[in-house]
Amino acid sequence: MQRDLAMNLHGLATPAARQRAWRALAVGLAGLGLFALLLILDGKDPLRAYRDTLIYVFGNTYGFSELLVRMTPLLLTSVAVALPSRLGLINVGGEGQFYMGAWLATAGALAVPELPVWLLLPLMTELGFVGGALWALLPGLLRAAKLVNETISTLLLNYVAPLIVSFFIFGPWRSAESSSYPQSPAFTDAARLPSLGSTRIHLGLLYGLVCLALYGWLMSRTRWGLEMRAIGGNAEASVRLGIPVAGYVIAAMAVAGGVAGLAGMGEVSAIQGRLVANLSPGYGYMGFLVAWLAGGSTVGIVVMAFLFAVVSSVGDILQITQGVPYAVVNLLMAIVLFIVLAERGGARR
């Protein structure tokens, strides 16, 4: 089963792209239609929401720039899924790894705020990576030792990481200036990732693109990538060939967690400027679906991350203009995904 999913994650790259694009469009429209129907039943006006979204997102540069802001963490969390999937590993822990990256990066920002920017930001980046990596290391070790399946362990840890964050912002790191709303003290300017002009597009986007490019290069051009794909194809044969399978499993999980941790670091450093609860509207889970839909291809990840950014702005618009909870946007994603699953599922053996 794991191998099936891993195959799905990277078996769909490139050919017949145009026909697939048309089908994707049809699926998207069907999903939007069904979602609209549900909203109408609930007495809302979905068409207005769709129109508002289009105007907001494509009507001016700021709205469009916000799409790139949303894409940034998704690029990173989907690489965090795609990389281990090549070995047949299912990392569903992007959410927890995201929070731990944000947490450790914050620890750095608060511990040595007097550092100059050229020292502090690399330090925080490193800490963000380490935080996520450590959080994924445990499931990796448990999997390599054949003790616990990484799917269930990463899912369970997703619920622990936000509690650690809450513990710190309600306790040791609680900012004195805001007594009503628990959050960490604001970061110094040196701890803020630079943004582009007046937009919120930040350096994290570059992190995302670099990680994606590295992932693509690693998989297709290096010996490590070849051996990882070999493990994904047949782990038993790889062991007999002398490939250090356990080592690869541990390393892939840790690196993947680190990449998701970078997403968390970017959000606290560039967007929030402090550690807050509810940092992620499900970026970790969305990253899983992005990677899965993209079939692990680098171009696919960019396209799907963009689409998910658009969908999640529909959720924002619905929340702002019609008082629909943001979580309802999950329904739209689920509808589209179910259509994709039902359409694709039977084709592959």
Binding site: M1, N8, D42, F338, G345
Partner: protein, 290 residues
Amino acid sequence: MSASFAAAALVGAILSGTSLLYATLGELVGERAGIVNLGLEGIMLIGAAVGFAATSLTGDPYLGIAAAALAGVVGNMLFGYVVITRHANQLAAGLTLLFLGFGASALVGRPFIGAIITGLPRYGGFDALVWLAVPTALLLYWLLFRTRWGLAVRAVGEDPAAVFATGRRPELLQYQALAVAGLLGGIGGAHLSVALTLSWDEGMTAGRGFIAIALVIFAKWNPLWAVVGALTFGGAESLQLALQASGADVSPFLMNMIPYLLTLVVLVFWGLKRRSAAPAALGRTFFGVE
């Protein structure tokens, strides 16, 4: 520790373990038929929201529970169509069901945030669902291990092709198992909102669905062991509440981690024993026999 403290913890264990037990039993039946449903958390959320909404609308908590059970079945049938008839990957479809649960429950529950309901009436300190929880486990044990239907369901989980060869339809049995799973998952979710908290909050199941999935492994796919597992984890949860009520100075966030970490520790110990009781065809897609 005083006696009243221990008694309160035990009562709490039974109360919060009940919802876990129903959910665990549901997942267990599905997995016996070879289907892993990672969307159990979503089904529980839908059950909690629908149960609360229906109770608020009709004023009858039993109708609320029934509506939640029905909603759970509907959700699982959708999942079933995708993974059984369309042969989609179970893990991806399960996560999609989780998303569906997040979204649908937020939509359904939204108008009822802050609504006041009369919860399930209690008889001798416990509501009807608590009293029925262990009998349900016994019933499932009987169904799975003492009836022809149960034998067929377990056989599907081990080797669908063999079931096909005996003239039964593996897909039909899987649908039936998933229907039972959805029914129990919906009830498990509704027990939280209609009997315990008497309120609806977005995401209120807080990962109980995933703990239930882990409990199935703990229970070695046996309904009777599921009772022990659910009580243990309900106990962990209620101990944490009782400690807070007694004024212990421990952060609630740290104590909220206990159930998840305990689950992980238990899984490690089970992994150490290296004896898997998992159905052989668990998670595999059955493509029929040509």
